[in-house]
């Protein structure tokens, strides 16, 4: 068995408005940051997974992401996996 570190980046789906991101974007110029657009706020989940190989580790984390870590109705996720 090997250990892997996984980072799961969970973001609101592109077609869905992101009120948090919009609010941050509106605030930035007022504190002196110009030229910034397209702000979106998501979350990043980090975990360690033990599995026979990288492929099965990826399957485990993907399944967990689909089932609970992200909500596919409103969120997309990207998975980064590195051997520990």
């Amino acid at each position: 068995m090997s250990k892997f570190t996984a980072h799961i980046n969970v973001m609101p789906r592109a077609e869905i408005s992101d009120p948090q991101g919009q609010t941050v974007e509106r605030t930035l110029p007022s504190i002196g940051f110009e030229g910034i657009s397209g702000v979106r706020v998501g979350k990043r989940i980090t975990l360690t997974v033990e599995a026979p190989d990288e492929e099965s580790a990826r399957t485990i984390v993907s399944n967990a992401s689909e089932k609970i870590l992200a909500n596919p109705v409103i969120e997309d996720y990207e998975l980064e996996l590195t051997p520990l």
Binding site: I68, N71, V73
Partner: protein, 235 residues
């Protein structure tokens, strides 16, 4: 027949006692069901109450949806028995896949706590068949941060075509408008039904509008309707 209402208690539920009190007030028998329990024997109605189950960690309702009791609630619902999820309970039902869509942060990024008007959109459900008319405007309080209903266009079309929107936010006259929509819900949705029409999720709190001592009694119509729906036909 005096129905027994089971109120599920998750760690972090905080409207469980209100729900229990309200059904008790209306003459039902009531029972609390801890989220680790799986035996729903003798229960006629399940309530998933408001609150912050599991601290709303990860997403509202996400952890609660996988509590041991939810497997039993799914069987209960599949058997056609009535389930009502209120506020956090609605979020749990969506996360558990018992209702379509999801509830997102309110569009104004504010926790909204106030009485709102909702319009009865269908009488074809145990929650709306007993004692209201189509288009009736009810005053029921809301108290939520994450109540903005989202579903994709196809799902919304299906909800409309099958008349599964139970309640819409509206003004005093029953008109729909952005101003009367407290959280940016798509299609002004305040409550929806599942395909079999025996599972209702709604953000407003009918259990907070039962006892006149705390303002309003319109919530009685919804909760009493469920109790009527369980009565055997007279012979």
């Amino acid at each position: 027949m005096i129905p027994t209402v089971g109120v599920v208690v998750f760690p972090g539920s905080n409207c469980d006692r209100d729900a229990n009190y309200s059904f008790d007030y209306l003459g039902a028998k009531t029972r609390f069901i801890w989220h680790l329990e799986t035996d729903l024997e003798g229960v006629d109605v399940i309530v998933l109450p408001g609150g912050f189950a599991y601290g709303d960690y990860l997403r509202t309702g996400a952890m609660a949806a996988w509590s041991p009791v939810m497997a039993s609630v799914k069987e209960f619902a599949a058997a056609g028995k009535p389930v009502i999820g209120i506020c956090n309970g609605f979020q749990v039902l969506c996360e558990a896949g018992l209702l379509p869509g999801a509830l997102r942060r309110n569009s104004g990024l504010k926790f909204r706590c106030m009485p709102v008007r909702i319009r009865v959109e269908t009488l074809d459900s145990p929650f709306t068949s007993g004692g209201m008319w189509p288009g009736q405007v009810l005053t029921i309080p809301i108290a939520h941060f994450d109540g903005s209903y989202y579903a994709d266009d196809g799902t919304l079309e299906e909800l409309i075509a099958t008349r599964r929107i139970a309640f819409r936010y509206c003004d005093e006259e029953g008109e729909l408008s952005d101003e009367a929509n407290p959280n940016g819900s798509r299609q002004h949705i305040a409550g929806i039904l599942n395909e079999q029409r025996n599972v209702l999720g709604m953000m407003p709190h009918p259990e907070r509008a039962v006892d006149p001592a705390v303002g309003g009694t319109d919530g009685r119509l919804i909760l009493a309707s469920v109790l009527y729906s369980l009565q055997p036909a007279e012979t």
